[in-house]
Each structure stands twice: as structure tokens, then as C-alpha cells.
Point group: C4
Chain length 241, copies 4
């Protein structure tokens, strides 16, 4: 009836990668050590952010630090372009960006060797509806339908952990020009995946741009109308549009 599972979770998984480690609560037990989360300091140069052109942007990656690699997750909003009519429409769709970094020591990760994978709305839909024993695989080629098709190929596969309590997030990036083949493997616990699922479900409508569609317009509040209207054929806007 009762399935006991113990977690010693790091207290500050959301702390910035620039901050020194503080208050780490990790206790590694034998069966858990392969999957245990670790706090890490990446080798990212703060210059790249300090002198960047990101005014007003907010960084709040959800980070999962494990023994061989880390996985950072964050949403990227769509961009819109304005039409002559004054309306807007989605130009570049939003994504959830996955950032993998290999470990280069105890709690250190190499941001120079990071690899990105941008999840589309439908790929997010696949992940949030994934059953506990199900797997899925996404394949991206930046040059598809161009003459460079096949030069770089990225494959993200998500498959259940052997204990059934979470998923492996495996990314393979094959570059046939540079003759490189980067592989990352991050075990994501059931609890961490639940955070992803809740956060992905939250951002999905924003990534789709639906928050902009439902933003109340001033015009949606009509002028006062008589309350007792005549009975008349009122063709529904399903037909009249």
C-alpha cells in the first residue's frame, strides 16, 4: 500500500550559476547516487551577459545538475509582427529551450560545450502527456530543406528510468562537417519532471501566443444596450464570420 521514497533535494536549485554554493543539503545514498542532483558552477563568462543586449530580460532557468551533465530549462516567448490593419500575428513561434552542459569536475559544468534544443508547442504537448512507461524522440535539423540538410542533426530522446521514477533526457548532436558527436544524458527524477510538466503546462499558452489573443481589448466592452431585445434570427458568428 505504501511506497516509501526518500529525497534529499538540494535547497537552491534555482540559485544562479554565478553564485557560490550555499546550504547544500545533498546526502548521497547508494541507490540514489547515480541520479542525485548536484549544485554546480558553470564556466559561463559573466561578460557575455553583462555586455549583451538583453535589457529588461529576466533569467530564471530551472536547472537540474547531475553527475555527467546539467539540464537548464526556460521558456522563450514568440515574437509578433504587426499587420497593416493594426493587428499582430505570431512571427517566430515560442519554444521551451533546453540547455545541456557537460560536467567538467565536481559541480562544475562547461558552458562552452553547451548544446541547445528548442521544444515546439507540439513537442511540449508530447512531454506533458507522456505516460510513466512511455518514451518519445524528437529530431531537429537546422538546415532541413536546404542544401545543407543532414550536416547537423540533433536528437532528443526521453525514456523511462529503470526504476520507473522519472526519465532520461538524452541529447545527441551529430555534426558531419566538424566530425563531432556530442552526447548528454541527464536523469530527471519524477519530482523534477513534475516541475517541468507544471511549468510547461503553464507556459504553453504563452509560447503559442494565446495570452495575447485573450488579452482583454477595450473594445470588447460594448456600449450599453437595451436589456429586452427583440426576438430575432441572430446568425451565430460561427456562420457570419
Amino acid at each position: 500500500m505504501m511506497k516509501l521514497s526518500r529525497f534529499w533535494l538540494p535547497r537552491n536549485q534555482l540559485a544562479s550559476k554565478f553564485l557560490p554554493v550555499k546550504n547544500s543539503n545533498i546526502k548521497e545514498t547508494s541507490w540514489f547516487s547515480n541520479y542525485s542532483s548536484r549544485l554546480g558552477i558553470s564556466t559561463a563568462r559573466s561578460d557575455s551577459i553583462k555586455h549583451g543586449n538583453y535589457s529588461g530580460k529576466t533569467y530564471a532557468d530551472f536547472c537540474i545538475f547531475k553527475g555527467k551533465a546539467s539540464l537548464a530549462v526556460s521558456p522563450v516567448l514568440p515574437t509578433f509582427s504587426r499587420l497593416d490593419s493594426g493587428s499582430s500575428k505570431v512571427d517566430r513561434r515560442g519554444v521551451v529551450m533546453l540547455k545541456f552542459m557537460p560536467a567538467i569536475g565536481q559541480r562544475k559544468y562547461d558552458s562552452e560545450k553547451k548544446q541547445l534544443f528548442a521544444l515546439s508547442a507540439t513537442e511540449i504537448g508530447c512531454l506533458i502527456s507522456l505516460g510513466p512507461a512511455e518514451s518519445c524522440e524528437f529530431f531537429h535539423d537546422p538546415s532541413m530543406k536546404s542544401s545543407l540538410e543532414g550536416q547537423v542533426q540533433k536528437t532528443l530522446s526521453v525514456s523511462p528510468l529503470t526504476n520507473g521514477e522519472g526519465y532520461f533526457f538524452n541529447l545527441a548532436v551529430m555534426n558531419s562537417v566538424q566530425k563531432t558527436n556530442d552526447r548528454f544524458s541527464v536523469p530527471v527524477t519524477k519530482a523534477e519532471f513534475a516541475v517541468m510538466r507544471a511549468a510547461f503546462s503553464f507556459v504553453l499558452p504563452y509560447i503559442m501566443g494565446w495570452d495575447q489573443v485573450i488579452k482583454p481589448k477595450l473594445e470588447s466592452i460594448g456600449v450599453e444596450r437595451p436589456m429586452q431585445r427583440e426576438m430575432r434570427a441572430d446568425p451565430d458568428f460561427e456562420w457570419g464570420r
Copy 2:
């Protein structure tokens, strides 16, 4: 224990129908080819939007392009009318609009022959609570309760795919005056349906107008009150309203 499913999903399902195809990642495998998503360019005239009267509106359809037809989904907010008291109430309820277009070639869809179907709150409730093996059917008649009842009839049926991993969205529009009978069939994968389910759950309260009801009013913050109030019979507003 493990059920492997592979997806080669299009990268830019949310890209505008006016943009040329870019970075398509579709790999059609035999068992998947009937359901595979395709990017498409519709025949919609940009004029109809450019010279329209949609100032301030944002377009962000969630589009599913398949072999025989496409399905675009987007929310439509309710409209409100003001009462003499200064309050507002829902005038025309919101919907989720489904737009079907038939394919007229490789990745081309005919917007001239589009058909709309407006899902009410309860119909949305039916879809988001649909079990994996369940079906449902909605029937709309624009002229119901009028002398024209039965001239045009729309039927949307949603039924499981044969592999159990998604649903067919079938729309039939029968016009007994024009003697036409349009039929659309779009296979929606489990991942695409998960996007719908999350997006529909997100917009449902907005379609119902509840976001306006819970919008904090300035008056809801009362004046300062003494913290130690007398014990007194405080009839709950369940009775006092």
C-alpha cells in the same frame, strides 16, 4: 514496460501561413505517414486581413496540417454589455473556434472552402475530459428554432485513432439549400491533442468571462479595521446576499 513512440514533428507549426516553409523536419515513416503533420501555405488572401477592421487583434492560431485537410484552433473572447448600474455582464459568450480547410496540393490548403465550428464552454469541457477510447459528437444548426431550421447542419465528431494515440476530428457540413456536403477529416496525434487540452483548459475561464469576474476591484481592499472585533453573529453572505 516501455512503449516506444517516435515523433518527427514539424518545427514551425505556429509559423504564419504567409511565411515560406523553413526548417521542415518531417521524416515520413511507413506507419506514421498517414498521420504525419505537414506544413502548408494556404490560399488565404492577405488582403482580407490587411484591409480588415481588426485593430489591436492578435492572431495566434494553433495549426495542424495533415494530408487531406488542416485544422486551425484559436480562442474567441466573450463580449460584455454594460448595465445601468455600471456593472457588466456576458453578452455573447466566448468560444474556441475550429477552422477546417481542405488540402489542394502538396502543403497547400484552400481557405475559400474553409468551414468553422465554434466550441462552447461545455463542448470544450467534453473534449478536455475525453478518455483515450471515448468519442463525442456535437451538432450545430445556425437556424435552429427559426423557420430555416435544418437547412444547414454541422456535425463535429471526435473519435479515437485506430492506434489509440490520438483522435480523428471529423467535420461534416450539410447545406440542403446549396445541395452541398463538405467533409473534413484531420487526424490529431496524442501530442497535438495534449496541446489542445492544455490550451483549452487555459482559455476556458476567459471564454466563460471568469477572468473579468475575478479581476481585483479597488473596492475589494477595505478601509482599515480594528483587529480585535467583538464576537457577534455574522450571517454568512451565503444567506445575506
Copy 3:
């Protein structure tokens, strides 16, 4: 594998009770007739709203009209009182208000005989976690712990429909002074309950006042800090508060 269920749902369940019926799509089939939704015109006097003191309020009841009674559902926000410190705290908690009205003819409901039942956060939690074969019952006494305790008693019981596809919402109001005993019974379909579940889950944090707690404060954005801080014992606010 496939369980077919057909719905002929009314198109404008959210339309105001003051508006004449339009575009009703109801087709009553034998097995469905007892549960079928009906559009209705209540006997509510518009005066009571027109001359009320509800400036700025928005009305957007979710209404379920059935053969013997109707059920209208809407959220009521909490009120806050200000403390001397400038902070605020919940004064009167929010609820989801259920309003029952008996039918007094074909699609007419008697608002004079309406009865209210205000669901608390925990009662909402009970409903949104209710399994398909589970029941629950809530008991309210407006005069509890006073000398009038027991004079008026309200009991809301929610129990599965015999076909398992929804719930009966039964309200009994017993007034031992007026010697009255009002009873309402509204069959709520699975689709209608899914709307309730989604809408209740949406409003629950607002009813609890948590939307005010998480409203970003200007102060939460601190001044610029040096990025390379000294390693030091930083007692977590779990202990320091």
C-alpha cells in the same frame, strides 16, 4: 475500445438570462431527455440589478439549465483588510457560489425561490478531486455556534449519475422556523462537470487570495549586487524569518 457518446449541447449556455432564447440546438433523444440542458428565462427582476450597488462588477455565471431546476455557478473574491503596517490580509474568504432555481415551466426558472450555497476552498478541493464513482456531502448552518443553531440547515450532496457520466447536485434547505423544506436536483453531465473542474481549479488561488500574495512587488527587484559574492554562511530564510 470505443465508447460512443453523443451530445447535442445548447449553443449559448453562457447567454444572459435576460436575453431571449436564440439558436437553441437541443435535440432530445429518449435516453438523454432526463439530463438534457435547457435554455431558460428566469423571473429575476432586472430592477434588482439595475438599481443595485455593484459598480464595476462583472457577471458571468456558468449556468446549467435542466428540467426541474437550474444551477448557476460563479466565483466570489475574498475581501482584504489593511493592517497598520500597510500590509493586507484576507478578511472574508472567497467562495464559489452555487445558485439553484426551481423550474416553473418550459425553460423558465423562478429566481424568487432561489437558494444559495457558498463553497469554501476545501469544499472546492473536494469537488475537483472527486473520483467518477465517489460522492461527497457538505453541511452549512448559518447560525452555527449561536442561539439560532439548527434553525436553517443546508445540505449539498454530490453523487454519481446512474450512468456514471456525471453527478447529481442535490441541495436541501430545511427551515424549521418557516417550516419549509426546499429541494433541488440538477443532473450535471461529465462535460459540464469538466467545465466546473477547470473553472474551479482556475479560481481556487484567487478565492484563497494567493493571486494577491504573488503579485510582484516593486521591492522584490533588488538593487544591483556584485555577481561574485564571498562564500559565507547564508542562513536560509526558513530559519531566519
Copy 4:
């Protein structure tokens, strides 16, 4: 087929602890008495809030009052620090704060002996994905990785009630310096846990800071662009970033 469960829930669980008890609806039946919620007045001094420095803050704890102890739950937002670039990033991550207080009489709880436990995003993920028969345990040490490690240890364990309809929330705080060992045990009903689950899922993205990431920036609406763009290799930002 039908599992009947009866609830007599307190009407004002969200009422402030400073307010006198009103309209309590508790009926204790034999099987339910050990778990029944009780309204309580804590011994918290209002001074501590009145003269505090919490301008603009809103208090809206979700409180569960039981026989031996009470549990109050509320979200705490992350703080952000500004970078030289004008961007912001999460400084101190947000949490959901659990506050336990021991009972010191009929509906009285001792705030002097309160103990806090701050749930991280991943710990929240663990709770909201907890199956009905599952348990979990979190371990916090405020001085971990310092010379004081092990002096104070907090353990929160969440395990199913014997009737399977909820969870025990047990907190143990061991202080090896003060030689104290505080223990709290609060039975949380299925309905109360459903409130927690919904409220935790709601606040999780805010605790992670994702609401700030997806806050629409003015810059995200680009200038007008020609609608008919040239077909060109458009490297996805997955590669270009």
C-alpha cells in the same frame, strides 16, 4: 460503484487567526473525529505584524487546524537582482512556506513554538505528483556545508493516512545544541490536499520566476515587416543563439 464520504467542513478556514470564531460548522462523527479540522485562535501577537516592515505585503495563508497541531501554507516569491545589462535574474529562489504550530488547548495554537519548512520547486513537484499510496521525505539542514552542519535538522515526511483518503504531514526538528526535538503531525484530508495541489501548481511558475520571464516585453512586438519574404535559409534560434 459508489463510495460515499461525508464532509462537515469548517466554513472559514481562510479567516484570519486574529478574528473570533464565527459560523463554525463542525460536526464530529466518530470515524472522522481524529482528522476533523478545527478553527483556532493562535497566540500570535498582533504587534509582531503591526510594527513589522511588511508594507504592501498580503497575507493569505491556507490554514489547516487539527487536534494536535495546525499547518499554514503560503507562497514566497523569489527575489531578483539586476545585472549591468539591465536584465534581471533570480537571486533567492521562491518557496512554499509550511508553518506548523502545536495546539495548546481547544482551538488554540502556540505561535511561539512554530516551526517553518520551506519547500523548493522540486519538493513541490514531488508533492503534486504524489500518488495516493506514496510517501516522500525531505531533509533540510540550515548549516549544511558549514562547520555547524548537523546541529539543526528538519525532516518533513508525507505519508498516506490509514484510510487512504489523505496524508499525514509530519515535521521533526532536532536541535542538538538546545537539546530539543519538536514533532508536529497534521492529518491532511484528500480535499485539503487537493487544495494544496491546485494552489501549489498555480504558484510553482511564480516561485520559479517564470512569470517574469514570460512577461511580455515591449520589444517583442517588432516593427512591421513585409508579408511576402524571400525564401532563405533561416537558421533557427536553437542554433543561432
